[in-house]
Amino acid sequence: MRKGIMRLLSRRAAVRCGLILTVAGWLLWPAAVIAQSAGSTQDFVKILKQADALVTFPDSDFSALYTFVQENPGQGTSTKQAMVFRRDRDNTYLIVIVKPEEDKGKGYLKSGSNLWFYDPVSRRFTFTSAKDRFQNMNARNSDFTRSNLAGDYKVVDSVRQKLGRFDCWLLDLEARTDDIGSPRMKIWISDDGLVRKTEDYSFSGQHLRTTAFPSYQQVGSRFVPQTVVILDELRGAMINGTFVKERTTYTISRPSLQGLPDATFTKAWLENLSG
């Protein structure tokens, strides 16, 4: 009798427990999801901040020689070289073309949100936009400024993905404001925190550009890509029935963190360079 009562009680208890657990589960599940997603967002912001930090030089100046190779399908290849001087703490850069001879002395000076292009022939500075193409190539003027992924974008989706030999987070980014040139972006960040690939999309979702960063070189405690490959998804030509995209490849050599004189980031310096 007593055993029967106990069995009945334990069965009721089990049912009650089950009910309590189910209700608790239903109640706690959204909270858990919110907590998890909050944690994920937090993590991704951290990942973006780390990716920014690894390629930014807040405590020193940066200079390097950039060699650009522009491939226009059906039209051949052209090469340009430029010296890039960056002072990330002031959000400033100065770029001066050193090759070919006909473009030598042309330059760009970015100071805060202002960007000027200097033409040594007319000896005049004209305003230009960070969103414009750099020297009619597939790189943009904004590609040479410091990285601010965490500030410019929010993560709207994420997935783990293998990119070649790299285990990466593939993040879908959306610009936080309407003044960011690429309002949508897919970005592959490897587990070492470095950006390995990006895809730029228009506001309506049109794929505009793919950029690959196959390898990096270490400069002090930071990193600089060795080679960057940019594919324009809209520009190219039909070659033998296949659409071949325009491509810009640039290599970065002679990176240096040596301090630069303040005068480097001035219009006068750019003018003096071309005599």
Binding site: P73, S129, K131, A175, T177, D178, D179, I180, G181, S182, P183, D200, S202, F203, S204, Q206, L208, L234, R235, G236, A237, M238, F243, V244, K245, E246
Partner: protein, 403 residues
């Protein structure tokens, strides 16, 4: 009676008046031809400008894009002001346009657009269809995803009717946006008004730029008579009490307006110069004629013609002379303008904006012709007044006695 005698004298002694008539004919021919050509140039520019900017008078909303509620209020205010100004528009346009930020892509090629025009096909289709269409059907532009591109753009992109092109623009803040568009028609238009222009649906352009779909940067007024644009603009402007800027379309093309004004001024200067030459010529020739006709006038006076009648006879002859000279000048002007308009001038750089399908056009405005005719007639009469006064003073006895 005087007119009859004058007519008989005029027809029986046509050789006497030939030189005078020729001078009047040449003067009227020259002025009429130049003014008709200038009017033709002006009409072409106004036609193109109105098509390009969306009307003969443009109301500009300003740089700030208003919120939806303000937008509706602004629309009501502008339309009410147009109504209050008493203007009867041939059509109204609502447009959004974009400057050099538009890029059109097709098959890897890209062309920077000088102007991307978003318009309402339902209200402006009639005006835009007058473009020279070289392929496709502009009526298909009722499809919101349709686009009309120029033949120059089509050639550079290797795009044809039915192809899908991609338009890339920068949104208000600067973010890049794109929209696929189907080429519905290809038009041919001259340099600044068309080479790098694309016409598309306004609401689609607004959406792509991040504006409210009901937004339009301008409201344009098409007029039946483009020559009234300045007056209409000032009437609408005063009805708006300075809230929005109102401008005739030519004021948006300052250099061209200056050129047209200079041409008009030159043609009037030539008219005045010719008038003086004609007046002096007629004065001298009439003096000779009156001298030659001394016996004739004396005889008329001897048989009872009064002094004022003699003066009126001379003036009536001058009037007939002016009428015949003007009529002949008008006919010659018609012929010359017709011949000039047949000459192909397509390749002429700088002139193409004034041409209609490669040819000069001309317009003979009734009021302009009337003004010219009245002026030439008055000048002729003015030249004849002095000799007519002299003729009436001739004494019959002296006149009959003279050789």
């Amino acid at each position: 009676m005087i007119l009859q005698i004058a007519f008989r004298n005029f027809t029986r002694n046509s050789r006497r008046f030939f030189l005078l008539g020729l001078a009047i004919c040449a003067g009227f021919f020259f002025v009429c031809t130049v003014q008709s050509l200038v009017a033709g140039l002006s009409r072409q520019i106004n036609l193109r400008g109105a098509r390009y900017y969306g009307g003969h008078v443009i109301v500009n909303r300003g740089a700030d894009v208003p919120q939806s509620a303000d937008l509706a209020e602004q629309d009501r205010f502008i339309l009410d002001a147009i109504h209050r100004s008493g203007v009867q528009p041939a059509a109204l346009s609502r447009r959004t346009h974009l400057g050099v930020d538009g890029l059109v892509f097709f098959n890897g090629e890209s062309v920077t657009m000088r102007r991307v025009i978003g318009l309402d096909w339902a209200s402006e289709g009639r005006m835009i269809s007058r473009l020279q269409i070289v392929a496709g059907d502009p009526a298909a532009m009722s499809d919101p995803r349709g686009a009309m591109i120029s033949d120059v753009t089509a050639r550079r992109l290797s795009a044809r009717v039915g192809d899908q092109v991609i338009l890339q623009v920068n949104r208000e803040g600067g973010a890049v946006n794109t929209v696929p568009l189907w080429v519905k028609a290809v038009f041919r238009e001259v340099s600044i008004f068309g080479y790098y222009t694309v016409y598309m649906d306004r609401s689609v352009l607004d959406e792509t730029l991040g504006f409210d779909k009901g937004y339009s940067a301008t409201i344009g007024v098409y007029l039946d008579d483009y020559r009234t644009a300045d007056r209409v603009a000032s009437r609408i402007a005063s009805a708006m009490a300075g809230r929005f800027s109102v401008a005739p379309v030519l004021s948006l093309m300052k250099e061209i307006r200056t050129l047209l004004e200079a041409l008009t001024l030159v043609s009037w200067a030539v008219l005045v110069l010719l008038a003086v030459v004609i007046a002096v010529g007629i004065l001298n020739l009439y003096r000779v004629i009156i001298y030659e006709r001394t016996r004739e006038i004396g005889t008329m006076r001897a048989i009872g013609m009064q002094r004022p009648q003699v003066r009126n006879l001379v003036l009536a002859e001058a009037l007939l002379l002016a009428i015949c000279g003007i009529a002949a000048g008008l006919c010659m002007s018609f012929l010359a303008l017709w011949a000039v308009s047949r000459i192909p001038l397509s390749g002429s750089a700088g002139l193409d904006i004034f041409l209609d399908r490669g040819h000069l056009t001309w317009v003979m405005n009734g009021d302009m012709l009337l003004a010219d005719a009245v002026l030439i007639t008055l000048v002729t009469l003015a030249g004849a007044v002095g000799p007519a006064q002299a003729a009436q003073t001739i004494e019959p006895v002296v006149a009959i006695r003279s050789e």
